[in-house]
């Protein structure tokens, strides 16, 4: 599993997922990443495995894949999926 800032030529047997973390979840990535990373995972990896990889064990309020809300964390991620992940955010 690797973390980068942009897509690279994928190694065989892997997928690269574009991850965007918001609000307090940004702290799961280095500050210079500003909440964005390309994550390389083994083929067949699930949302749950992505969360574990990112170290997110707090309550996830909302997660979307390619701008569609996703609640099935056993869903298999596809190469170049865009995954946005939100904690509970308040106020406004």
């Amino acid at each position: 599993m690797r973390l980068g800032s942009q897509y690279e030529r994928p190694q065989s047997g892997t997928v690269q997922v574009n991850v965007k973390l918001f609000s307090g979840f940004r702290e799961h990535l280095p500050p210079e990443a500003r909440g964005k990373a390309v994550v390389e995972l083994p083929d067949g990896s699930t949302v749950e495995q992505l969360l574990a990889h990112l170290g997110i064990d707090e309550h996830v309020k909302l997660l979307s894949i390619n701008s569609e809300r996703e609640t099935d964390w056993l869903r298999t991620l596809q190469d170049r999926d865009v995954v946005r992940i939100f904690p509970i955010v308040v106020g406004g």
Partner: protein
Amino acid sequence: MPYGYNGKILHVDLTTGKLEVEEPGEFFYRKYLGGSALGMYYALKRIPPGIDPLGPENVLVLSLGVTTGAAISGQSRVTATAKSPLSGAIGDAQAGGFWPAEAKGAGFDAYVITGKADKPVYLWVHDGQAELRDASHLWGKITGEVQAAIQHELGDARIEVLQAGPAGERGVRFAALINMSNRANGRTGMGAVMGSKNLKAIAVRGHNRPEVADRKALAALARWGANYFPESNVYSMGVHGTADVLAFQNESGGLPTHNWESGSFDGFEALTGEVMSDTILKERDTCYACVVRCKRVVETEWQGKRVDPHYGGPEYETLATLGSYCGVGDLAAVAYANQLCNMYGMDTISCGATIAFAMDCFERGLVTTAATGGIELKFGNAQAMVQMVEQIALRQGFGDLLAEGTGRAAQRIGHGAEELAVVVKNHDLPAHMPEVKRSLGLIYAVNPFGADHQSSEHDPAYEGDYESYKERMESIGLLDPQPEYSLTPEKIRFALYTEQFYSMLDSINVCQFVYGPAWHLYGPNQLVEMARAVTGWDLSLWELMKVGERRLNMMRAFNAREGLTREHDVLPPKVARPKKGGTSDGMFMAPEELEQAKDTYYAMCGWDTQGIPTRARLEELSIGWVADEIGR
């Protein structure tokens, strides 16, 4: 005199120039507490029915709370109450900053302002003394200049100034009151009321705040809040401002876009709180004694024009109304427009929403360049958005019509423009959508001063987020969370209880990000502890909630006296239309669903089928005199 109060209310008759001090006594204070409930007492007693809100008969009440100025987060708030020139219903708006705490030390708990001065004046209040001074030289000036001029001429840079800007002077119906040049009693046109009275500003300075009953208990609560803050739900709001919520709003399909055609905005990523932190944020600012520091101070340029940190920075609501509502995904443009609103003294919500409405009309051919003076008022045109903000503030060109507010502009434009007006009681909807928050839709409809997002807890707290706040919600009897997007009787009970809770918060007069029934820094029982520590009264949550109910019932009675009934408690047609795109694609809230919910809600409130409080209900709240006022 009870702890926490000055025990004095200043009555200002601008017509005669007479200033009088009232000392109401402990019974009065315990019944009406302060803030909005206290303001409502004077609004009902002093504002004759049917008057022109911009005439001398209107009464503007500025009221502090019992806890204002105490050394704990979230207490420095001021409420403005008057008949609203936007809606004709009761008007009500809160602001934070340092003005409220300073005003508390200046010696009065509230200002009740009547009449109209024959030339511009400002009120100078310091250490129990008050005087009206000439403001002719300040008339027409922007907020930053007025603040500096008053501080200079009175010789004290620590004087705090609350004022009506040039927009308020010109009767822009959604003009705000501005303090510190960047905090607003934003909604319902309170700045226009102050401007109509030829009252430019209220400058305050005070060295002695009222005694607190139990300093140790208050200090312990303050320490607890400071220690808990980093792990609290409001921590991230402190880091990224209220705009921390913007990306989530978009992703959940609840970010109003293109005048409520959609709940998702393609350009949202440029407007998020996180991006603001990464780019134009200069520093975080605070209100007096608050650890959250959610206020933004930004510095940038837009088209060669400076965005000056003196005027603060945009809130979530502002980024939505001047941004996504108008299809403008340009952070610098929104920051500049926000600055204009603070300089001229306008509510950013109604200002942005009114421009978005005009853009919608333009896109549909109901308004053309002949009317706009050549401005291509299309969604996404940042230049046009900024031009309109300036035109509205100065009542120039097409802006003169929009300064009347969305509802009146829609009537004038005609040809179906009314269908595009996203208002309740002529009050523009803020940036949270009933389509994805059903109980909020009910509160938007029934709230006495029009659609408001700070008058109840939002649905997610009684849906999927409930487990995170279970203990606090249980403490106000909310035990049974409901399905997403539902509007069951149990959800209506949630809406009502939290509406009463938020009404209480506005009457203790504290910040609704710091105190509340769910995700806030302090929960309900801590709020009671705080109020007890300040007042020394043996207060309970029950007694405080009753003050919240009292306020809401007084407001509904005020509206009833103005002829408002059930038919005014309706959502705009756009909310009933399926949204386009994003995660709320196809979602809407039907009028029938609202009407059914209103039946249940009115009955739960003890009101009649028209939504008017009964005499028995008012007597139960110990305000039978209100029933006399409305002929019940």
